[in-house]
């Protein structure tokens, strides 16, 4: 039985088919990349799985349970965490409080939540910024806070929506390293949307490619870069030749 199984998902935004009969599955412990041009339906697919959108047809099965159409807070409680492509830069709460809210998903006591949040910030090496507000931090740090608060909910599947966009090579290196660590140490399965090919190819064990709402390829990174459909739709000749 697959860990996450997406079966024939279709999402139609009044004529614009964002996801057209998409099926795939993810096994426990994998790191799977999701790539495709802008508007290919990647984020829509994420939203259909997590519950921000209700798919028009198809099923999402997570650890043997049908979670199709569940609300995001229910899928989160079932063990799916996610980050957002665009994080709202808010001024209301500090970093520590943000992560504590994530921790409150599993604990009721404030002290417990605080301890858990501090431990997580320490694990990520960002405990120094705990009293800052999101608007006072650079993008790379904001992304890490987004990751930390998602991790605080104890997910077993973490879905990351372009965590590396806008980061410099060194920061990307850090994030990649961090993904490997949470995957191997915390045993969290990762499903990531990414535009930076170097990163996807390096970190993912398997890649799924979307174009115009349809799945056009799926396979090992090494095979994907040679796939003609993918080169035509997304990677371009230049990328294919250089690899």
């Amino acid at each position: 039985m697959a860990f996450l199984e997406v079966d024939n998902i279709t999402k139609d935004f009044g004529g614009l088919v964002a996801n057209n009969h998409i099926s795939f599955s993810i096994d426990e412990g994998e790191i799977v990349g999701l790539i495709g041009p802008n508007g290919a339906g990647k984020t829509t697919l994420f939203n259909c799985i997590v519950g921000y959108h209700k798919p028009d047809s198809g099923k999402v099965i997570f650890r043997g349970k049908d979670i199709t159409g569940l609300k995001p807070h229910d899928t989160n409680r079932a063990g799916i965490g996610r980050t957002f492509q665009v994080m709202k830069v808010t001024t209301g709460m500090t970093v520590l409080e943000n992560v504590m809210v994530g921790a409150f998903c599993r604990v009721d006591e404030r002290e417990q939540a605080r301890k858990k949040a501090l431990a997580l910030l320490g694990f990520m090496g960002i405990e120094k910024i705990k009293d800052f507000h999101l608007n006072e931090l650079p993008v790379a740090m904001q992304r890490k806070v987004g990751l930390a608060r998602a991790l605080a909910t104890n997910p077993v599947l973490l879905m990351l929506d372009e965590v590396a966009s806008g980061l410099n090579p060194k920061e990307i290196e850090e994030i990649v390293e961090f993904m490997r660590v949470i995957n191997s140490e915390k045993k969290i399965t990762l499903f990531i949307i990414e535009h930076i090919m170097e990163m996807v190819m390096k970190v993912s064990q398997r890649v799924i490619v979307l174009d115009y709402g349809e799945k056009i390829a799926e396979g090992l990174p090494a095979d994907i870069v040679k796939n003609e459909n993918v080169i035509k739709a997304y990677l371009g000749e230049k990328y294919a030749q250089s690899h």
Partner: protein
Amino acid sequence: MEAIKDALNFSDFSRAERISLIIFSLFLLIFPLLGAGSFTKTVMIQFLLFSLFGMGWNTIGGYGGQVELGKAQYVGIGAYTVALMMVWWKIPFWFSMPVGVLIALGYSFIIGYPLFRLKGHYFAIATICTSLVLKDIFDNWTLVGAAKGIELPIHEHPDFVYMQFKSDTYYYYFIMVLFYIGLFYMNWFRKSKLGYQLRMIKDDEDAAESLGIDIRWCKIKAYSIASAFVAVGGGFMAVYNLYIDPTSVMELSLSIKIALMAMLGGAASLWGPIIGAAFLVPLDRFLGSWLGGYKGLIGVDFMIYAALIMVVSAYQPRGIWGIIEQLRKRGS
């Protein structure tokens, strides 16, 4: 146990704030001994009452960030429950007041469940509407006195069972106790799980949902807490005014004043509603007695409130307390 500790613990506030709170508390305690006139006493009682209302509103309106403009209906529920139970069955205040709170809680769940399908302006308008509907019902319901209202029997001697006194001093200390219960409750609330979750909802609803927060349920809970708060104040209004009618306890202007005081003082802060009430209650009284003397100037006070709302939301959405914090940051 832990909750009581949290409620009484103000240690995360600055020294200046804690000292101010102590001085303010001492002042409240000895105020009736200062020989103030009855007008000033009335203003103080109103101030404490509206602080209590504002604190309640602050749960859903401040921490939760939902523009709620229908709190008057719950003031009305609290006030009418106390008044009717006293007039019909001679039931003591200490029984009827909790009953009023329970009715307000139940009613707020029924109203809140569909209401929180709405967001933003639509939600604000819907809260106004539900409040207006309830007022209309009471205005025409002869069984509860319709628009004529209800008079409570007057007791000559201080009566702690029905909470009726001739002297304002009793009422003053009574509302002061309620005020402190409210303050301690809010001090716990802001540190509670629900408090944190509400602040997240206010900041970013999508993110809140992704962190396992059932947004609608959290909002309903906060809305009900706010409703219970103002129902307590409503019960007090019944025994204090000894006369209630839909206009005095359910009017739209009351809802707006409650929200305005908390917003003006500083929504989502513990001191905000108190500061707002300290500012607006005397202003309201002053404008009322001053403008009331001139024909044709009725309603001008509302223009002034409207202007205040605009100034606050344009200059500092976090209200007077936001301005103070800004100045303090600049100073340090």
